[in-house]
Subunit: 202 residues, 2 copies
Amino acid sequence: MPKMSNIEQSTEEKIKEAARKVFMRKGFSATRTRDIAEEAGINLALLNYYFRSKKKLFDEIMQEKFKKLFGVIVPILNDTATSLETKVELVASGYIQVLLENPDLPIFIFNEIRKEDSSIVQNIKFDKIIVNSSFMNQLKERRNDVNPIQFLISILGMTIFPFIAKPMMLFSGMTNEETFTVLMHERKELIPIWAKAMLESK
Amino acid sequence: MPKMSNIEQSTEEKIKEAARKVFMRKGFSATRTRDIAEEAGINLALLNYYFRSKKKLFDEIMQEKFKKLFGVIVPILNDTATSLETKVELVASGYIQVLLENPDLPIFIFNEIRKEDSSIVQNIKFDKIIVNSSFMNQLKERRNDVNPIQFLISILGMTIFPFIAKPMMLFSGMTNEETFTVLMHERKELIPIWAKAMLESK
DNA sequence: GTCTATAAGGGGATAGAC
DNA sequence: GTCTATCCCCTTATAGAC
């Protein structure tokens, strides 16, 4: 065990921190273990000493990020004590906050999962938590004429999509970093209003 | 020039067709030129004979796909002859149709653009067509209390996001291929209804 | 135009000294 | 635990025969 102070991270944590950064930016395939080692300020051999292989290191980061993306939403959608409206508010505000701090998270996850060889996903137990959630039941009660999945996708889309489109929005000059952040804070309030309107539509 | 019949594609087109398939599925970095050659049923050397390098081939495909993604939307949003409601209908139905035929398109584009070295984007002239479009003006007139970008992102998000989330939805058992298609056809009508409700909200 | 063979280099992983 | 040096396969790209 290396010495640990309040200031310094352990070598293992330095490598993980660097791996988070590089993997998130470039994805699995485009990332070189040498990039991670350099970013961590350590030698390439140490990476293999601690994590055995690039893939094993990646899987750990992926697990982490996956939990981060779904950890926000699952407890909110499953809480039988809150109303439909409250859930939407909590999802919008909670998610947007997390994504402002981790803007690459959604596109990273959705892209890596798309690849057929994505053994990452195999390891993750996907209960049907969301489909059977309190939120879905409440949607069914409120509007039995529309498949509740349609509402779910729309609310998640309104919340998450801006972060997926962000790089293109920046490049196209549609926004800049500061404006984007302001827009996202505004959305915390807009999405609940719009969701309400959608639920009452027609 | 190779002989061309009605049935056979030229070698160049066979390579491009294979490249579309493999690049779209795996992205630039995870794709090996050998995969493309094999998929095309030709020799690896021919790929370089026709396209000089993996990167040049990729750039051609990227250009194509980029145009496909924006070609649908730009003419619709810029048509001064149509109403706001009509534009939403056309975007929803047109986009969903294209995406049902090319479900990987959005995640491919958004992911490749995210990478900083994405020289692809440099080559593409990003006029501020969308920001200055007829659609944006109509939004401003209708609701001067909300930034029109907020509506734009929401409508695009409701349309495009399901396709980005599709692999995860399939894996989680939330839907299967057939149900997904049905849901997307339903959305062609739902999105205009919801957009109307959002525009009238509060 | 199309092939086989091979050059040239990149990148993951390990051996072995300290 | 950490380093340097190195192995070795894989991948892109080209040379050169047909």
